[in-house]
Amino acid sequence: MTAYTAAGVAASSAVGATLGWLGSVSLPPHVGGTGLTIVLALAAMAIVREVGWLTIPMPQRTRQTQDFWARVFPGPVAAALWGFDLGLVFTTWLTFSGVWLLVVVAILIGEPAFGAALFFLHWFGRALSAWLAPLLSPDGSATPDLMEEITGQYRLFQLVHVVGIVGLATVFILKFVQESWM
């Protein structure tokens, strides 16, 4: 678990820092009206997609992380590789589309440290479930029930994801307004 989480932290933080750096070298220092428009348009597309109003293909690699690593490498090494692979975010399947909004936000804000923090916390949210899972199951035999429950709550997670997108877009509007007053 620790190897998995730590490797994911490293990978995700690097992704975020890189995006922030890209923004810092290619964009002006403050979010302008164009940036706000892009974020709101992307948020609207993501929401429409996730609530099911339109079928919008999401750019992603249609790949899962490698099971065979567990057969080839010792446990902690395999776990670290999985964590690093998933932590890179875009090398494997994406469940929902909101992460693309994080990409745009990281680039627009254009600060590598902030980008790293943004994707670190995205990974934190993602990895947290692995740490909490043992607390949800009375013992290992209940794992199939837990997995079934996770699958059964897909729509709930999707709606929570939409709320997250709305929250992100709302805060971004507030940031734009704050910068406009400065």
Binding site: L121, G125, L135, T151, Q153, L156, L174
Partner: protein
Amino acid sequence: MATQRAGEAELTASSRAGIRRRFRMVALAVPTAAMLGGALATPLAPEAGLLAAAIVLGWTQLAGL
């Protein structure tokens, strides 16, 4: 024998119901805590709200398992 099996089935159903309850509580508690924290911190620094939203977006990737 039948009574024992019925008892075990009831225990399994009860266990599963407990898992469902705990899972749904946690499934909503984590993003709620993140969003509340973000809502409180955003007036001081909007970036905090963005970071809180990132936790929510990451957490919901769990659905893809």
